[in-house]
Symmetry: C2
Subunit: 349 residues, 2 copies
């Protein structure tokens, strides 16, 4: 899922996203609540109509941003009091508020409101946080259960538990007991080593039903996506394709390219030879480098198009290899090719 934080996938039109084959995008409940506000969006016909996107939208719960962006937080049993990051307005979001906002936005997949503990998080704190998140999960479920079932969005649970295996298991089992339409693994990619991130997934997935979608939130680099798929994950959202594009960084099968670098100044080849995206079919690395150096918007636009194509195509390839029974070989080759280059260039990816 390309990430459309503020009712736009950065620098992209909906028509461009459709032509890249994006089936669903993510919207950020926190950001849209702060600006322009879900009530305004609802009066204008909902988020789909507001941003002119008629395919599915998944909205996060706002929890992650409340804990990472907002200031002066106070967590109570009811929810979280905070000051928003834009103008400091005192705001409250709890489980029911989050559901109401996502309802007003017209989300197709609603995420439950969870507490996101920082990394590292000791066992006692993680256990206490998890218990609160589970009580909030039940309240989110209850809020939807009182609403008409017709056209009701899907509701996804979020497995928490930090880096503690038994808490991850407890979280997953408890969510399945409540019953959700899909299950996310949250609290990953929050600063922990990659090995620990994989372990959090491994500690959750065995306890989630095979016939429900499983979603790793906020991930990741291309090899991480492949490694997560290998561990049973079906869905991702990731800001890297558009965020790195704005920094002049493009993804290729052999690693990232920083198009600002001098060796590309006269390079007539496309970002990735053979790539069928609009950027690679029409423009050279030399031209893109010029645009990035001159701080021209077209540069980050074209790299965004390429990077989103790369990510969407990566998951399409993974799906095809799974169906063909060749995923394991694809995984090994892809990860080996990608990593070697990334390491040699010391690119943070």
């Amino acid at each position: 899922m390309p990430v459309g934080t503020q009712a736009t996938v950065k620098a992209m039109t909906p028509a461009e996203l459709e032509s890249l084959g994006a089936q669903i995008i993510l919207g950020n409940t926190y950001h849209l609540h702060v600006r322009p506000g879900e009530k305004l969006i609802a009066r204008l016909g909902g988020l789909h109509r507001f941003m002119s996107w008629d395919r599915p939208i998944l909205t996060d719960s706002g929890g992650f941003q409340v804990f990472s962006l907002a200031k002066l937080r106070k967590i109570t049993e009811q929810g979280v009091h905070f000051q928003n990051h834009l103008d400091g307005t005192p705001t409250f979001i709890g489980p029911e508020t989050s559901m109401e906002i996502q309802h007003d936005l017209g989300s197709d997949i609603v995420m439950l409101f969870d507490e996101c503990p920082p990394h590292p998080c000791g066992y006692d704190d993680a256990a206490k946080s998890l218990d609160l998140t589970l009580r909030w999960a039940a309240r989110c479920r209850a809020w939807w259960d009182t609403r008409p079932t017709e056209n009701r969005p899907l509701l996804f649970g979020i497995v928490q538990g930090s880096s503690h295996a038994d808490l991850r298991e407890k979280s997953a089992r408890a969510l399945v007991d409540i019953g959700f339409d899909g299950y996310a693994v949250g609290g990953v990619s929050v600063g922990e080593p990659e090995r620990e991130m994989f372990r959090a997934i491994e500690n959750a997935v065995p306890f989630l039903p095979q016939d429900h979608p499983r979603y790793a939130m906020g991930l990741g680099t291309p090899p991480q996506i492949i490694e997560m798929i290998a561990r049973g994950i079906d869905m991702f959202d990731c800001v890297l394709p558009t965020r790195l594009a704005r920094n002049g960084t493009a993804f290729t099968a052999s690693g990232t390219l920083n198009l600002k670098n001098a060796p590309f100044a006269e390079d007539p080849s496309p970002i990735e030879p053979g790539c069928e995206c609009h950027a690679c079919r029409h423009f050279s690395r030399a031209y893109l480098r010029h645009l990035v150096k001159a701080e021209e918007i077209l540069g980050l636009r074209l790299i965004s198009i390429h990077n989103l194509h790369f990510y969407l195509n990566l998951t399409r390839q993974a799906r095809a290899h799974i169906l063909a029974g060749t995923f394991q070989e694809f995984r090994e080759t892809f990860v080996a090719n990608y990593k070697s280059h990334t390491e040699s260039t010391k690119d943070p990816g």
Copy 2:
């Protein structure tokens, strides 16, 4: 002509420009000389191939930017010594250098290298500057006359003479004596009152051949474009559509809209009802206001699309009305409708 200063019409792909019906764009010799350099562009196949635009390109001579952007200028008979605005590198551009740069870029319409005196400019200074510009014009013509005629670009003269009627006449007559493929009026829209700008055009046009294109450089607002067409001008370049878009300002037949303004917050209508551009067919003023307020690139992209459509459509309308014999009525109605709104909103346009 949309303006493609640094080998890109800001925020637009060539494909989008084509779909808007842009027949030709302008490239800036000074900017491209400074970065990435015309020799690099030539090695990569010329400006058309570099930026993936296969319709005509007109390049200015660099003169205007040398006099408005560069620092520590010294004007001699040979040309202008200056330090570029990016890193202060000492640089020289004279008539022949400008022709060489435009040749290397692969321009389709080359502008001669002229001195651009500031406004206001007293008679003696303007006369002296004009004489230098005319000697440079002859050298530009001579440079091209030594080259093979096959695939040679068109060469346009530039009428100067500031606000002095007899100098404008002298300039036009002298250029026609030398002989060019088209004639521009330069040194307009340099800070003078609008009435004086129109007079500069009126003082030049009668002495320019009817069967050669006439081009008013660096203009203007929509009513100014119409007024210039009424005075016999055929071609324009203007940064306003893309520059004002980046400020959240959109053009309509009744004047400009600053989409940041609060009244648009919940306005479900498009920028201009009935407009057939991509922005107006899919997005509301409310959504565009949100994007502009949130500083999202998609906002300035969509307004750029609308504004370029507005300008290109305006000249298409003018042409249709000229052919239908209804231009005078179109002109009066358009200018009256546009001006009244502009005046009432105090928008600088």
